[in-house]
């Protein structure tokens, strides 16, 4: 950091403190989004290899479920609507590629083949040779084992519960493909079919029993795991396999704070847009187990921590060991406030799911809410700090990831799950499309979903006088694009402010574009030739102008929260250019 910057930051901090002390709550003239932005791949610089960590589950569960819920429920910040926005944002309200996130489908539409293949680089374990079982696990939610194939690649193998063949394996792989395409780091997951005769026990392999003691593993013991699942009609077994990620695993990441032994880990996780926006994506795929237990940091070449989401068996209609139930997604496992509600009402207080009737859609799918799904009230099984702090802007960003998937892409992801029947695959794809539309509808309704702003010199509107400085602005209305409303059903209320040029205009108008590309004319409503200050010599701060637009639904006049477009006056061109965006 250079000295001048440090001094200016101190001045700003001092000014802020003074403002706070005076109780005026004054803000800096420059909006935060126009300050320094995040730097692409800044967190992929080499670091010393951190120690692997294996945190205990119960203390963190208590922390999340009790302390986290109390502090969230009684939060003054939430009550007064002063939530902090995510911090790692570009001036255009987006993120940059990093060790957490890559710009994939939302930026460049992936082909259906790319979606189906996802993060995989092969075809799963090599079954031409022996599959050596390295270790097995019979305790825990889902028993399984780790194997090494003939090529020396290692995989985690997990099975479907009895009576629900395909359910968790398909859910795991489908969600893997969707999260990958959305931009998150995930391991290479496959639906894997093998015959029992291929299995052998590696020398020195052990098994950890219910008493957490390691014992020598025998093939008979390993094959006991197979008794917990169903075989295919031809006698082979089906499982979901997850290839070990490159680089040694270093334990999970948490959805709050930073990892102290990772100098690259800069933004506190609860203020990362990717993790906050993950709420909308998780709700879409009903990944109720989206918590630190299902994450992993890996020390990858050339020597930094890449942050993975892992194990998606508890998503879509699968609850890993059984189908999902209505409660999952609507109440935390330890719902502090719902529990207190029941305590003080003698059990008469009920959450919506308690009166819901439901039945398994199909044994290969499990149960997943369709048209009744409410993206705003969805909850994972355990409180997640980043999700709790997510604002409407974060939800909208996540919904843009969800909305980036076409019907064909969703079908391609479902195909990767290798469900046993076409009707089941079609049903699951249809439910995902319905849920996608609901996610989009919900979050796009929370903001004015206008994107890709461009300036035009011509107003193309005779009522707005170009001679007075009026201009046109072109943008995409994602609500129109997604079919949530038509151009005729909305108008755009706008306010334009450029103090240095004495411009303070406001108005409303219907768009004049076609499709989702809209155009609105901005300018003084009345001719006022007396006001035309000199715009050729403005200071950098004086060049800043602000355009606030709201989508207003007709005929009821409901206005969405606004989008703020930051403009810079370019004196040489005598026009504005877009330099920032806040939803």
């Amino acid at each position: 950091m250079n000295r001048a910057n440090a001094v200016s930051r101190k001045l700003i901090a001092a000014a802020t403190c003074a403002a706070l002390a005076a109780g005026c709550g004054g803000a800096s003239t420059l909006p935060p989004s126009l300050g320094p932005g995040p730097i692409p791949y800044a967190d992929t610089l080499p670091i010393r290899e951190p120690e692997a960590r294996d945190p205990l589950e119960v203390p963190r569960i208590l922390d999340d479920a009790v302390a986290g819920e109390v502090s969230h429920g009684l939060s003054v910040r939430r009550a007064v609507g002063e939530q902090h926005e995510a911090l790692n944002l570009t001036p255009f309200d987006d993120v940059v590629p990093s060790a957490w996130f890559a710009l994939r489908n939302p930026v460049r539409r992936m082909t259906t083949v790319e979606i189906r293949v996802g993060p995989t680089t092969g075809f799963g374990p090599d079954t031409t040779g022996v599959l050596e079982i390295i270790s097995a696990k019979v305790q825990g939610v889902s028993p399984g084992f780790n194997i090494q194939d003939a090529k020396g690649d290692r995989y985690v193998v997990k099975f479907d519960p009895k009576g629900f063949l395909h359910m968790s394996s398909a859910a795991g792989v489908i969600s893997n493909r969707l999260l990958h395409a959305a931009g998150y780091n995930v391991p290479e997951d496959f639906v894997f079919v093998f015959s029992r005769s291929k299995l052998a026990v590696a020398e020195g392999a052990t098994i950890r029993g219910e008493d957490f003691k390691d014992r020598p593993l025998t093939l008979d013991v390993a094959l006991d795991v197979l008794a917990l699942t169903d075989s295919l009609p031809d006698g082979r077994y089906l499982a979901v396999t997850s290839k070990f990620v490159p680089g040694p695993p270093k334990g999970p990441f948490f959805f709050e704070g930073v990892r102290e032994d990772d100098p690259n880990d800069y933004y506190h996780h609860e203020y990362r847009r990717e993790l906050r926006g993950l709420y909308a994506v998780s709700s879409w795929i009903n990944h109720v187990d989206m918590r630190w237990m299902n994450t992993m940091d890996a020390y990858v070449p050339p020597g930094y921590l890449r942050h993975y989401l892992i194990d998606f068996a508890a998503s879509l209609g699968s609850g890993t060991t059984r189908p999902h139930e209505p409660r999952e997604g609507l109440e935390y496992n330890v719902g502090l406030w719902a529990g207190l509600g029941r305590v003080f009402t003698l059990g008469f207080y009920q959450v919506g799911w308690e009166n819901m009737t439901w039945e398994v859609i199909d044994p290969t799918i499990g149960w997943l809410e369709g048209e009744s799904f409410d993206p705003g009230s969805w909850k994972p099984n355990w409180p997640n700090r980043a999700f709790q702090l997510a604002t409407d802007r974060d939800g909208y960003w996540g919904a843009k990831l969800v909305g980036s998937f076409s019907d064909e892409q969703i079908r391609a992801a479902v195909d990767a799950g290798r469900l046993s029947t076409r009707p089941a695959a079609d049903t699951l794809a249809t439910i995902l499309m319905v849920r996608r539309d609901l996610v989009v509808k919900h979050w796009y309704g929370k903001v004015s979903p206008l994107e890709n702003f461009e300036m035009e010199q011509s107003t193309a509107d005779p009522a707005v006088h170009e001679a007075e400085g009026g201009f046109g602005v072109r943008f995409d209305d994602l609500g129109v694009r997604e079919g949530l409303w038509t151009s005729e059903e909305v108008q755009y209320r706008w306010e334009f402010e450029h103090a240095a040029l004495d411009r303070d205009w406001h108005g409303a108008g219907t768009a004049t574009g076609t499709g989702d590309g809209q155009r609105v004319a901005i300018g003084p409503g009345d001719r006022d030739p007396g006001k035309r200050p000199d715009g050729s010599r403005l200071s950098p701060e004086g060049s800043l102008a602000k355009l606030v637009l709201r989508v207003v639904r007709r005929p009821d006049g409901d206005a969405h929260p606004p989008v703020t477009v930051w403009l810079e006056w370019v004196a040489t061109a005598g026009s504005y250019r877009v330099i920032g965006l806040e939803h």
């Binding site: 957490f212 690259n264 029941r342």
Partner: protein, 454 residues
């Protein structure tokens, strides 16, 4: 920047101390690992990786980017006192239990104590801690010898001085059971408030030492009906309480009229019981009714001039409203009658109060020949594990109970009301524990235990 500086300093220091390091190496050459000199030589070389990390640090420090976390604002100022208030609660209710759970659940190499415990258990002897072996709560240590199953020997002693030593044999399968046991027990501090529904709140304590030798058999005749019967011998001696300065019954009460307080008593005992279980378990809830009747006949032997019998009955009903809420009702009675001689020893009379009846009163608060207790509970689920493994229910209860010489002598004024709240933690097939807060005219009682009468 600091990392980079530290790296450079270290390499300089290593070079400067190399002469004395070499000297020290020469002095202790016999004891030093053979590769030590190689390590030292390696440390003096420049580590390219360190340079790489230092360069990365330098780049990172040069970044101009948004803050890592939001700046403090007025909301933080407002929330600060709330956080200060919440801090001790967080420490006590979240962090401490979390730390304890973490210690318990951390996988680690077993310590010497754990290894010794496991060795004993593997051999057939299990030491364990209990919450009570007498009528009053107390930490107790018990040793269980089960190496020669079905034979067993158990021995326990509590911090109040109670003791229990027993040996026996138990043969059981799902339909039949046969057992024989010889036991010597000392209940070191038993409370006694006098006889009758109007007994004073002043209590006295006594100790009871007794031998109990018995044989029992049980059979499950159908899924719903079970019977059991047994024969036994007991030898009772009453004395001052032990290991306490609390007042004795001999100081507080007139014990001259309490049969059994000033003499040893010996009985042979015949007893039998029958159970009618019409309940069904659905999820975490019982539905239906459960009944049990028991009878016991005591005949004095040797120089004990006392014969008596006692009959008790319990009826429990469960009325689910839905799978989360239900009523539970319980009626319990015990009738003790003298059949001749000096009467019934006071410690074999019927009692009311404690963790199984009239929860708002202390243990055995009321004593007389007959007892009647009625309790109604409203139980409701407040939490259920997402995998349906366990659930917590709360309950509100109201109960009326009394004691008297005869049930027919009970009048309206004798009834003792008790009410309160509690929580039950249950697995699908068994109850894990109950905690309750009971209220009565005499104050508040807090109880925690592993089973529950209803």
């Amino acid at each position: 920047m600091q990392r980079m500086s530290r790296g450079r300093d270290r390499s300089r220091r290593t070079v400067s101390i190399a002469p004395w390091a070499i000297g020290a190496a020469l002095v202790c050459v016999a004891a030093c690992p053979p590769d030590l000199s190689a390590q030292d030589a390696g440390a003096t070389q420049k580590d390219p990786a360190s340079d790489q990390f230092a360069a990365a640090d330098s780049i990172r420090n040069g970044f101009d980017r948004p803050p890592a976390r939001p700046a403090t604002d007025w909301v933080d100022v407002v929330e600060f006192p709330l956080k200060v208030i919440a801090f001790p609660f967080n420490l006590l209710l979240v962090k401490l239990p979390g730390w304890v759970a973490g210690q318990v659940m951390t996988e680690r190499e077993p310590s010497g104590i754990v290894r010794a415990y496991r060795s004993m258990e593997n051999w057939g002897f299990r030491p364990m801690l209990r919450t009570s072996i007498g009528p009053r709560s107390s930490l107790a240590l018990e040793g269980q010898l089960f190496r020669f199953e079905p034979w067993y020997v158990h021995s326990a002693i509590s911090m109040r001085g109670s003791q229990r030593h027993r040996a026996g044999v138990l043969l059981a399968d799902p339909r039949y059971s046969l057992s024989a046991e010889a036991r010597w027990q000392r209940d070191a501090q038993v409370t006694f408030y006098g006889i009758g529904p109007d007994s004073d709140t002043n209590r006295g304590l006594y100790s009871r030492d007794y031998w109990d030798v018995r044989a029992r058999g049980g059979a499950r005749l159908t899924r719903s009906i079970g019977v059991d019967a047994g024969v036994g011998f007991e030898d009772n001696s009453i004395d001052d309480p032990v290991w306490t300065d609390d007042p004795s019954i001999y100081d507080e009460l007139d014990t001259s009229r309490l049969y059994g307080a000033n003499e040893s008593t010996r009985y042979v005992r015949l007893d039998g019981g029958a159970t009618l279980d019409l309940t069904k378990r659905r999820g975490f809830q019982d539905t239906g009714a459960w009944f049990r009747v028991e009878g016991a006949m005591y005949r004095g032997i040797s120089d004990t001039d006392s014969d008596f019998h006692a009959i008790s009955g319990i009826a429990q009903g469960y009325l689910p409203i839905n799978h989360r809420q239900q009523f539970a009702l319980r009626a319990a009675t015990r009738i003790a009658r003298a059949d001749g001689g000096a009467g019934i020893p006071f410690f074999h009379l019927s009692t009311l109060g404690g963790t199984r009846s009239a929860l708002g009163y202390s243990t055995s608060r009321f004593t007389d020949n007959d007892m009647l207790s009625l309790v109604a509970e409203w139980r409701y689920e407040v939490w259920r594990d997402i995998h349906d493994i366990a659930r917590t229910e709360f309950f509100l209860y109201f109960g009326e109970g009394t004691v008297n010489r005869r049930l027919l002598d009970i009048s309206g004024g004798d009834w003792q009301a008790s009410y309160g709240v509690g929580a039950r933690m249950a697995m699908k097939q068994r109850l894990l524990g109950v905690a309750f807060l009971g209220f009565s005219d005499e104050g508040v009682q807090i109880g925690i235990r592993g089973t529950w009468p209803l």
